[in-house]
């Protein structure tokens, strides 16, 4: 009998096939993101909503596409040309292989995380996308630094996981 399930570890090709069918019908697709290549913007377990791409793909758009190996990938567009787009995971040091339009399944329009909903179709969302695409080549340097700053820093302790910036001299 039908068994309802929230999480199903679909094989990558099955996920891509379902995504293609749902998006091909002009409907949106909502799913939990896996992996950390788009962290911190999209973290493992964040819920993303994807719609089919109508019209052109813009710089900064986060797209769902099939890689040349058939794997579904959600990465950001950092460059465009007539024939293809170049994507990159925000937290990765290098970009992906060029993505042809026939490989593109859809565009991420909403990200739900920690009770928040980020809408990427709004002017603010688009601006944020362009900004993140612009800094993307350096993102693998920037994001770890930001994480470091976010950690509570105590001047009285120093260890590898909680680095001390200002050490008091020992009395």
């Amino acid at each position: 009998m039908p068994k309802k399930t929230e999480t199903l570890n679909l094989k990558r090709e099955d996920f891509a096939s379902i995504a293609q069918e749902v998006l091909g019908r002009g409907r949106a697709l909502r799913f939990k993101a896996k992996g950390g290549s788009m962290s911190p913007f999209i973290r493992n377990g964040d819920v993303v909503e994807v719609v089919s791409v109508n019209g052109k793909i813009n710089l900064g758009d986060i797209i769902l596409y099939r890689s040349s190996y058939g794997n579904p990938v959600v990465h950001r567009v950092i460059r465009r040309s007539k024939e293809s787009v170049i994507t990159k995971g925000d937290s990765l040091p290098s970009s992906d292989q060029p993505v042809l339009s026939r490989q593109v399944l859809g565009r991420v329009v909403t990200i739900q995380k920690n009770g928040w909903r980020i809408r990427l179709g709004t002017p603010t969302g688009r601006l944020l996308n362009v900004l993140l695409a612009t800094i993307s080549p350096f993102s693998f340097l920037i994001y770890p630094s930001l994480r470091l700053l976010k950690k509570p820093i105590s001047p009285f302790t120093s260890n590898a996981s909680n680095p001390c910036l200002f050490r008091l001299p020992h009395s």
């Binding site: 039908p2 309802k4 399930t5 199903l8 094989k11 069918e21 749902v22 949106a28 909502r30 939990k32």
Partner: protein, 98 residues
């Protein structure tokens, strides 16, 4: 509703995929296919799902199940009707006009 004398078709707002011998159903609600709320069907349920084509009545489906599985007729009918009722509840099937 007398399910035995009705034919059913798969609702167009359901995407189904057979994976490793089992069918998964992805309902599309409010124009969104939500992979966080999907349904999986076991072996017999998968076979019944395959047999739902808008032409076969549940009586015909029951006959196929009785041929293919070792199950008592009474139990097969009870399970089939319950399954169809559940599929209707989750809006996976609709009564056919045929």
């Amino acid at each position: 509703m007398n399910y035995l004398t009705k034919s059913f078709v798969k609702d167009p707002n359901i995407v189904s995929r057979k994976i490793a011998g089992e069918v998964i159903l992805v309902p599309i609600r409010n124009n969104v296919g939500d992979l966080k709320n999907i349904y999986t069907l076991n072996g017999v349920a998968t076979r019944i799902w395959e047999l739902i084509d808008g032409k076969r009545q549940p009586e015909d489906i029951k006959k196929v199940i009785l041929e293919e599985y070792e199950i008592e007729e009474e139990e097969a009918e009870k399970d089939l009707l319950e399954f169809l009722s559940q599929l209707k509840e989750i809006k996976a099937i609709v009564a056919s006009d045929v």
